[in-house]
Structures are given as C-alpha cells and as structure tokens.
Symmetry: C2
Subunit: 300 residues, 2 copies
C-alpha cells in the first residue's frame, strides 16, 4: 500500500519507483505521458461532465452523492468499480488514484446513511482509510442508468453478445433458441460467473430473455414478467420471497418460465468498465482503470 | 386434485375413498377418529387461540392477516408451511384441508398488496384456486416470532442441536469449536439444505454463532454483528449489497468474520413444524400436517 502524498505532482504519479511503479504503470492515461502544463481537473468537474450528458439532469433526488472527499479534490487517477470495498480502496491507494467512481453504496445501505454506523468498527476503519488518503468516492448509479445509453445495460448486453437482439425499451433480447442449461453456461462465461442460482428445467427452450441487471425489486421484476411474458428472467439480485416465489407459482400454473439469478455484482460490473471507457474518451489525460469488485460469495 | 365439497362432514373427511383416502390418511388428527358430536372450530377461533398467547397481542399493525377466505370457515384440516405456494395449495386440496397457516406472504410482497397484481395471470390463477376451494390462508409471521418461545427460532435451534448453547436474548449460540467447513456441513444436514452461499475461509475456527433465520434486513444483521462480534453470522436471506459487503469489508479490515446464507425457506421452515405441533397440542381433534414449501432454487 502506497500512502497518498498530496505533494505528488501528476508527473510523479507515473514516475514512482518499485512496486508502486509496477502498479501505477497500469494506470497510465490513454494520452500517454501527461502534459505537465495541463490544468488538473477536480472531482466536481468530472462528475458534472457526466451528469450534464444525462437527460433531465441534475436530479433533485438521487443517491448519486459523494460518499467521501469533496468536489475540489484534484484528480490524480480514477478507479471505476461496482463497490468501493476496502480492497478496492487499497488498490486505488497502491495505484495512486484518488477518485473512485462506484456504482453501488459504500456503507451497506442504499442511501449511504451512516448515523447508525457511527460506532461500528468496520465503518470507522473504512472512513478513516478514505480520509487519510483523501480519496473521493462518488456513487454513479441513477445517472449512469438514465444516461443514453444506460451504461450498465449497454455493456452487459455487449458482453452477452446480444447487441442486435436486445430492445432497450422492453429489456428483452430475442436470441436464437437455446436450452436453459446452455443459456446459463453462456451467461457464466460471458460475465465471469463461477456459480449462480436458477429456477427452471435445464432443458427448457429459451428464446425470449428479459434482462434486468442489478436488484430492480420484486414488484418491478414481476410486473415486467407479467407484461413481457419472457421464457426466462435473467437478473442480478432478488428477494427470495418475492420474485422466486412468483416464478415458482407461475411454473406450477403451467407457464414455461425460468429465472436466472446472476448475482448483483456480475450482473452490473460491465457498467463500471463502461464508466472507465467514458472517462478515457472524455478526459484522455486522466489515468483511469476499471477494478472489478469481484463476487464475495463461495458456494458450498 | 380433490375438489372441496362443503357438504363433507368431518366424519367423511377420513372416510373418503381411493387416492384421496390415501392422502387423507396422512391428515388424521392426533386424537384419532374424530368425535362426530364435537363442534367444528372455525378459522377465527384457531387464529385467536394462537394470538392470545402472544405478549402484547393483538397487534395494531401486523402483516398477519387472512390472505384468502374468512374467519367463519369451518376448519376440516390444517396445513402449516413457509409459503402457501400453488403446490402447497394443491396438496391441501388433495388432503381435504381448508386452512393454510403460512409464515410468509402469499402474493409476493411483504404486505400482500394485490392491487398491482390485479391483471396478473399467476395471481388470478392462485386466487381463483383458493376461492374455488374456499381455502383460508393466514399468515402467522409477527405473532409466531413474538410468541414465547419464538416458534421459528425455537425449532430451528432444536434442529441444529443447539438448545443448550443458544441464548434467546443475544441470538448467539456458543458451540464447540468447529471449522467453517464443518459448520456449513452441519447446517446443511440439520436443515435439509442442498447448497448454500457463504463468505469466509473454510478453515476459520467458528465458536460464536450469531443465528438470524429469515430476512432480518441489512441494518439489523449488521448492527447485530457489530454488537455481538460473532465468528459467523448464519442467516436466511440477505441483500447482497448490504450484509455481504459489510462482511467482506470486515474481513479486509482483518476481522475473523464469516457469513453463511442458509436460504430464507430452510432457515425458517422448522417454524412451520412448530406451528403444526402447536395445533396438535391445542386442538388434538383437528387434522394437521406440516408441508414443507421446499427451496425453489437450483445451483448451476
């Protein structure tokens, strides 16, 4: 772990020695060696540049706030990820990056409320780590989903190879007929998933795929199934007593309906790769790297 | 499937012929052949008998309402279960039981709101099935958890063989030291689980187990971890972006903390066995059977 030193110039960022240099080498900007005369951008400028691209922005009510740091921090390097986990923060420190753009909460609840955590050891350790290294964490959730295109869906669909088959209005991909078993194998391979949960007959023919990355919630998932009548809902996360029970009942009724629960992170992680690509395009001088949060789960 | 016929007397309940007799034989009351002179109890009387045992009852605000049928239905037989799935309803019909006591929602959301489902095929099929057979479904969730003992926890702890080690105040079981791997195997065997998700090192020594069946919610799970400092949280269901991320961060910080996600149903299904036992004790003349809802998930 490399301690952050505010006196490091952008030039120094890519001239650190030893282990950190090896790491930092991964974080070179797409413009190559940085022009020393270029004015450093701050966190707020990068946030604003993304937000202004989003129709109807800025949103009055949004969870897309800074979870640590402030708008005025000069950006030395950016990490994009699904979760600003302690591991991801440590990687940012090692790479001398001081701005993490995460898709999901930093503090274990949707609104990132922290009052209930004020005496929690894990929360305090994480917050202290962020403060010590003066790292800004911005959640880009509502904005990236309302962006045109939705950066998450766009890159998930690309990874699955369904760009031509996917309809952005209905969220349905009409793919070539495949068994549920083959579809599961394809999803695992495309999205880097080791193991997942599903409901259905592995031999069921699947053609109409309702794709809903993330945790849209039971009512949205069930309503979408009801109106689209897909062969399978492929989603990130469910509440077991909502969507899973609906799918089970639909099958008992006689419907040919399956459910693939990809896991929240693998279902949306491509969106963070999109975000890194966006930074690279807009701000080629800023070093940026997508660091996958990785699934925390084992199966036993 | 046996159609319900309101003219069946309780004597007829156990004298049906053929396939139904075979099924109905499973549903004999613990008092054996029913006394024909005994007055039939209705749904409301059985609900009230349970509710009045619960400290502070009746609750002003509760999800424990009738989801179908009414209080005046004369009870021919009772099924207890985690979820009144279509499969469970069909089993009730086959067993000539007309009262289902379920622990969880019938219509895929905590409050069992149905306005949003009024045009949904699965909802309408299920509701029609219940109406056609005049089956009452009562959710017993808040009451059984506030009962002394909490019927769910009590039977889950018994199944795990931890009655002596479990503290009902802290929800902690101080068990003999065990590796996480051995603990997972024990939980799977005791609770009839095929596969589950976990976070942690299989070799970690576990002794202090925080047991929280069901889906308590991220804030409650995390707060309990923070105050009890267990070696492992063993729970039913999580939201991936809450408890799982907290446990991951705690481990990155250096804490010896693991998470076992049993699955919502297997983590609480013993509570429905408790409920069947309660009926048997209080109303020995009423045929009652615990029908496990079973996990809907496969792992692939």
């Amino acid at each position: 772990m490399q301690k952050e030193n505010p006196s490091h110039s952008r030039r120094e960022f890519i001239s650190l020695s030893g282990k950190v240099l090896a790491s930092a080498a991964l974080l070179t900007s797409s413009a190559g060696v940085l022009a020393s005369h270029q004015e450093e951008l701050n966190v707020g400028q990068i946030m604003d540049a993304f937000i202004k691209e989003v129709p109807g922005s800025p949103f009055e009510k949004t969870v897309d706030t800074l979870k640590s740091g402030d708008r005025n921090i000069k950006v030395k390097g950016i990490i994009t990820t699904m979760f600003a986990t302690i591991d991801v923060i440590n990687k940012a420190i090692a790479l001398n990056a001081n701005f993490i753009i995460a898709h999901e909460p930093t503090f274990y609840n949707h609104a990132d409320e922290t009052a209930w955590l004020k005496n929690d050891d894990v929360f305090n350790y994480k917050m202290d780590l962020l403060k010590k290294h003066n790292i800004a964490v911005w959640r880009n959730h509502d904005y990236i989903h309302m962006h045109q295109p939705d950066g998450v869906r766009d890159y998930v669909v690309r990874r699955l190879g369904w760009t031509k088959q996917y309809d952005t209005e209905s969220w349905v991909a009409d793919i070539q007929s495949s068994s549920l078993q083959t579809l599961i194998m394809h999803a695992k391979k495309s999205l880097g998933i080791k193991q997942l949960r599903y409901i259905g007959d592995p031999r069921q023919v699947c053609k109409k795929i309702l794709l809903m990355p993330g945790a849209a919630g039971g009512q949205r998932q069930i309503t979408a199934i009801g109106s689209r009548k897909p062969d399978v809902l492929m989603c990130g996360e469910i509440q077991e007593w909502e969507t899973a029970e609906y799918v089970r009942d639909a099958r008992s009724k006689g419907d040919k309906l399956s459910l693939i629960v990809l896991g929240h992170i693998p279902s949306e992680e491509p969106g963070s790769a999109y975000m890194a690509e966006w930074v690279k395009q807009k701000f080629p001088a800023i070093p940026v790297k997508h660091v996958g949060a990785g699934s925390p789960f084992s199966f036993g």
